[in-house]
Each structure stands twice: as C-alpha cells, then as structure tokens.
C-alpha cells in the first residue's frame, strides 16, 4: 500500500463494520417487530 496501509485498511475495516452493523441491526429490528406482532396476536386470543 505504498506506506499508506495504516490509513487504507482501517477505512475499509470501518466501512465493512458499518455495513455489517446495518444488516445486523435491521434484521434484529425486523425480528423484534415480528415478535411484538405475534405477542399482540396471542394476547388477542387468536394466537393458538
């Protein structure tokens, strides 16, 4: 990397970390919402 490795690699690592966090957080948010919807369905007595 011509002496710039300590700047280039951390940039790529950080951005790929951000991409991974986004995927994880969005998946978790969706799963939590689904769980809440199912719980609300069960509370209405229609879950079974």
């Amino acid at each position: 990397m011509g002496g710039y490795a300590r700047f280039v690699w951390p940039c790529f690592a950080f951005v790929f970390g951000v991409l991974a966090w986004n995927l994880w957080a969005a998946g978790r948010y969706q799963a939590e919402a689904r769980k809440r919807a199912l719980r609300s369905l069960a509370m209405m007595g229609e879950g079974q």
């Binding site: 990397m1 700047f7 951000v18 969005a26 969706q30 799963a31 689904r34 229609e46």
Partner: protein, 244 residues
C-alpha cells in the same frame, strides 16, 4: 392518479413489496461491492499524486453520497407524511434515519483517515467537513425528536419538520467546495462533461456507488418491514400475515 398514489402507500403493499425486493437488493449489493472492493484494492493503479492512499475513495465517496441521499429521502418521506398524511411516509423516514446516520459517521471517519496523510491533520474546520458533521447532528436530532414524544404521531410530525428544515444543509455540503475555499478536493466523478478518472479507477468506484445504493435499498426494506409491523400491529392484515 391519487387513488393509485394512496394504494401504493398502503401498509400491506409496502410490507409485501419490501419483502420481495430485499433479497434482490442484497444480492446486487454483494456482487457490486465485492467487485468494487477487489478491483479498487488490487487492480486500480495508484494515483500519481496520492499514491495508494487514494483507494480510500472507494469507501469514502459512496458513504458520503449515501449520507446525502438518505437525508434527502428522509426529508422527502417526512414531507409526504406531513403534507398528505400518509403514514408510510413517516415509516420510511423512521427507517432511513439510522442508516443515513451510520453512513454519515462512516464518511467522517474515512475522510478523517484520508485527511491525515494528505492534509497533515485528521480534522480541520473546513466547510465540507463541518457541514457533514452538522448532517450527523441533524440525523441524531431527528431520531431523538421522534422518540422524545409519548404520542408517536406527534413525534413523527416534529421529526419530519426538523428533517425538512435541515435539508437546506444538503446543497450546502455538495457545493461547499465550490462556494468556499476548501481543503477538500472538488468533484471528480459527478463533473459535467468528463470525469477526471481513467476507467480502471472509475469502474470500481461506480460499482461501489451502485453497491452502496443497493445495500441501502436492502437495509431500508428490512427496517421498513419492522417499522410497518410496529405501526400496524393491531391491523387485520398484520394478523393475517402473522398467521401465514
């Protein structure tokens, strides 16, 4: 025309469409980001002035672009929710804010790491850097304001107002390098006429732009589905969807 517009914004339609589009966006993002990263790191030649440090552009520029695009989406969706009282407008705004904030942070961090070898400093109170930092504060403000109200409807409206007022910062960020003396370089890709990059550098960058946009689409779809479920939990169609 308005009937079509309202049908397009109906929660079940949005929920199903987001679910159908998400895997396609994700596959396209994986392919283009994979190509862009490999080609940008291994095959693009070093810049004649910046050497290999220029490779930071492959993650910095798409992050910065996405930070502006997501904020514009946030403001437009908020305006749709506010003006036409379309609930899905607010749902899109709520779903896009954390994604945009994360890419704004990413643009600031990678820009700072690029600035150190090129400018001799990690940070300068330069117009481009400062206006991008204000963008991050705007994202945080919009998210905080939305969750500060007990009544979600009031939170949505307040957040939409702030988002609309804050959109004035988007052209300021874009034109800051033209309007003021800036350490930051001017436009290289979006130049009218001809970009100042050879194809071997440009194609991986364009692939990264496309990949980041597709990634944004995929994550937005995932968050939007969650947002729709949270808002429509009591609706009959959600009960049907949960049973199936």
């Amino acid at each position: 025309m308005w009937t079509w517009f309202y049908r397009l914004a109906s929660p079940p339609f949005v929920y199903r469409t987001a679910g159908a589009l998400m895997p396609w966006f994700l596959a396209a993002a994986a392919a283009t980001i994979g190509y862009g990263t490999i080609a940008g790191l291994a095959f693009a030649p070093p810049d004649y002035q910046q050497g290999d440090a220029f490779r930071i552009i492959y993650v910095h520029a798409p992050s910065a672009w996405l930070s502006l695009f997501a904020y514009t989406t946030l403001a437009v969706a908020g305006a749709i929710g506010l003006i036409w009282r379309i609930k899905m407008g607010h749902a899109v705004a709520a779903a896009t804010a954390p994604i945009g904030a994360s890419f704004t942070l990413s643009a600031l961090v990678t820009g700072s790491l690029w600035g150190r070898p090129m400018w001799g400093t990690y940070w300068a109170w330069d117009p481009r850097l400062t206006s991008e930092l204000i963008l991050l504060f705007l994202y945080v403000g919009v998210m905080s304001l939305r969750s500060a109200f007990e009544d979600p409807g009031r939170g949505d409206r307040a957040a939409a107002l702030l988002a609309i007022v804050g959109v004035v910062n988007v052209p300021i960020i874009h034109y800051s390098v033209v309007w003021w003396n800036s350490l930051h370089q001017g436009a290289t890709v979006a130049k009218i006429g001809k970009p100042e990059m050879p194809g071997s550098m440009l194609w991986p960058l364009l692939a990264m732009f496309l990949g980041f946009m597709c990634f944004y689409g995929a994550v937005l779809c995932m968050r939007l589905r969650g947002e729709v479920l949270n808002r429509e939990r009591q609706a009959a169609w959600v009960r049907e969807a949960m049973r199936s």
